[in-house]
């Protein structure tokens, strides 16, 4: 999954928007996260089934859960590939989602504050999630899987843009 790959998820009106992608490491981060959830769940599920039924059943349940985790890989890749953002002249555009596709447009002038967060998995891969908040609770402009340096750069850039274009309520 490289940034240069042709845009399979382009919307009809996308011409002229230069979508930027999160870091390719995001897919790895998501895989690790799924793995971190799947393995304990499979282990516990297998142990419970094993204790309640037969050891074979326990093994089956555990393996089944692991396979389910592996299958989610397919969806993960598509979900990660669906993320994109574009810094336009006056607003930030973010798109995401495979089943339910969303695109958000947030004018820089509406920005109230910016969060840059990084969970343990993201941190270990040098990634961060950037989130732009407006006065509306429903606005969601979140960009996961940015390179940490890039996230900091984007944050400063957005903050200065927000300052120059600031609008009140």
């Amino acid at each position: 999954m490289s940034a240069a790959e042709p845009d399979a998820l382009a919307e009809p009106g996308d011409a002229g928007i230069r979508w930027q992608r999160p870091s390719p490491l995001l897919l790895r981060a998501r895989r690790i996260q799924v793995g971190l959830v799947t393995l304990p769940v499979a282990l516990v599920g297998g142990l419970i089934a094993g204790a309640a039924g037969s050891p074979a059943l326990g093994l089956g349940v555990g393996l089944g859960l692991v396979v389910a985790g592996l299958l989610s890989e397919r969806f993960l890749a598509r979900r990660v590939a669906a993320w994109g953002y574009a810094e336009r002249r006056d607003d930030l555009m973010v798109r995401r989602g495979v089943l339910i596709r969303r695109q958000s447009v947030v004018p820089y002038g509406r920005m109230q504050f910016i969060d840059v967060t990084a969970g343990p998995v993201e941190r270990s891969l040098g990634l961060a999630t950037l989130r732009m908040h407006t006065a509306a609770a429903a606005s969601d402009a979140r960009i996961p899987g940015l390179d940490r340096a890039q996230a900091a750069k984007l944050r400063d850039q957005l903050a200065s843009l927000g300052e120059t274009q600031a609008a009140g309520l």
Binding site: R102, S104, V105, A135, A136, A138, S139, A167
Partner: protein
């Protein structure tokens, strides 16, 4: 620090005109008013306990405990009154409070969204009122001055508002036709007054009312079936909850009267607790017209406005979630008149979605629609409870385009417009995908133009203002 003589009825702590710059205390009776609500609650509890422990022997003990609690509440109130003081200086209202944990809060008047005068039942008996400052930040960010004598509260409110106007042309969203300081208290033109019988009917036919009916019916059925009224005691909390809900709504919306004043729409309402607030047109984030199924039979509707900054009612969370009802219940004509007062030539949701949207929203299709010009976007939806939302483009915080799996199959998409707060989103639902894409492409520019126009000519934005270039409607016509 001016210390008023305790219990002095002509209540000196408040400002004859010019010395609000020095420190003041609140009215000495304010702890009593503050505790009033708790006293009522405690009183009910005492009665309940007495009732429940009729056969018990420690009734006397309980009573003593309750009296101790009441004394503690009053004592705490007295201490908090002693350590609370306020001052207005340099366009900033400062409130200092707290004995152990000192707290000093500053409210820059230029940031004030509105100032309400609220009188609870007890306060009305004592001739006191509470001043509530609404800031944009929502629930806990506002300031309260509780309580001042009513006349002083009104005077202080006007002074603060005129100071807010004087210091606030730089503040964004300055209301249209900003009056000169001192002009704030001009003549008022009455616009609407809710009819009490309508309100009773409307509440009875609302969701809460129907729920209350069901609860009462259930109670009666249980009593009839068992023949023992005592069985229903366990349902008491539900009954009390429902009754409180209905009472709050009735109390809050009773006698709602709206009039146009130079600084905006003046809204007064309340039966026991009265509230007077001013809605400045430039602060209106959204307007919503709600027509529930049953109300439509009577030709009734409800018009609400969303203003930044939640209503300051810590005691009542649900109140903050609700919008301010300018027309709690009224005819279409009432609502239209009020709408015309809030927005200039508002568009109607006349653009229908493509017929294939019926597959996605078989019921909702009936009322789906939107329209927009260079100032407003309107969208309507909902089959049972028809909701039409107007949003000034100037106030749009973000725009979202959403396409679910069914919509994708049908070639549809929705666009949502968010305004400040968590209450209102205008949803242009189930449009043709190409049209939705057009809307998404054009609206940000239109919104920016509207914002800039609003900033260039403060006041010209929400009302008036010549047509500027393309409108949202044109955007789609060109598509």
């Amino acid at each position: 620090v001016t210390v008023p003589p305790a219990g002095g009825s002509p209540a000196p702590p408040v400002p004859p005109a010019d010395d609000i710059a020095s420190w003041h205390r609140l009215h000495p009776l304010s702890p009593l008013v503050r505790a009033g609500r708790h006293l009522v609650g405690i009183g009910i509890l005492v009665i309940l306990f007495l009732f429940a422990n009729q056969r018990g022997s420690q009734t006397g003990n309980d009573l003593i405990y309750d009296l101790v609690i009441i004394a503690l509440v009053l004592g705490a109130g007295l201490v908090s009154w002693l350590v609370t003081r306020w001052q207005v200086a340099d366009g900033v209202l400062r409130i200092e409070t707290g004995l152990v944990r000192r707290q000093s809060r500053r409210f820059p008047l230029s940031q004030v969204q509105a100032i309400d005068v609220v009188q609870t039942g007890l306060a009305r008996v004592l001739g006191l009122a509470e001043l509530r400052l609404r800031m944009a930040g929502g629930d806990s960010s506002g300031g309260r001055l509780a309580s001042l004598p009513l006349a002083d509260a009104e005077r202080l409110r006007q002074r603060l508002l005129s100071m807010a106007h004087a210091s606030g042309p730089a503040a964004a969203g300055t209301p249209p036709g900003t009056p000169a300081p001192g002009q704030v208290a001009g003549p008022e033109r009455p616009l609407f007054r809710v009819r009490s019988e309508c309100l009773v009917g409307a509440i009875a036919l609302s969701r809460t009312g129907v729920f209350a009916g069901v609860v009462i019916a259930a109670l009666l059925a249980v009593i009839a079936a068992t023949g023992q009224p005592g069985v229903t005691a366990s349902l008491l909390p539900v009954v009390i909850g429902v009754a409180l809900g209905i009472w709050r709504r009735f109390n809050g919306e009773f006698g709602t009267a709206v009039s146009a004043a130079p600084d905006g729409l003046r809204l007064r309402s309340g039966l026991v607790q009265t509230t007077a607030e001013t809605i400045r047109p430039g602060r209106v984030q959204a307007v919503r017209l709600v027509e529930p199924l049953v109300w439509r039979l009577f030709g009734w509707c409800r018009l609400e406005v969303d203003v930044a900054g939640a209503r300051q009612r810590r005691e009542n969370r649900s109140e903050a979630q609700r919008l301010r009802a300018l027309v709690p219940v009224g005819s279409r004509a009432d609502a239209e008149r009020m709408l015309g007062e809030l927005l200039t030539a508002p568009p109607r949701p006349t653009r229908r979605p493509p017929a294939r949207a019926r597959w996605k929203a078989p019921l909702g299709y009936h009322f789906l629609g939107w329209d927009g010009d260079d100032r407003y976007v309107v969208a309507s939806r909902g089959r049972v409870c028809r909701t039409t939302t107007w949003v000034p483009l100037e106030k749009v915080q973000s725009i979202r385009w959403v396409q679910g799996p069914v919509q994708r199959r049908l070639g549809l998409a929705s666009v949502r417009l968010d305004v400040a707060g968590r209450r209102v989103t205008a949803s242009i639902a189930d449009r043709d995908a190409a049209e939705a894409q057009q809307i998404l492409a054009r609206l940000p520019d239109l919104a920016r133009a509207a914002r800039q126009a609003g900033r260039a000519a403060p006041g010209g934005a929400a009302r008036g203002g010549a047509a500027r270039g393309g409108t949202a409607r044109d955007a789609v016509n060109r598509a």
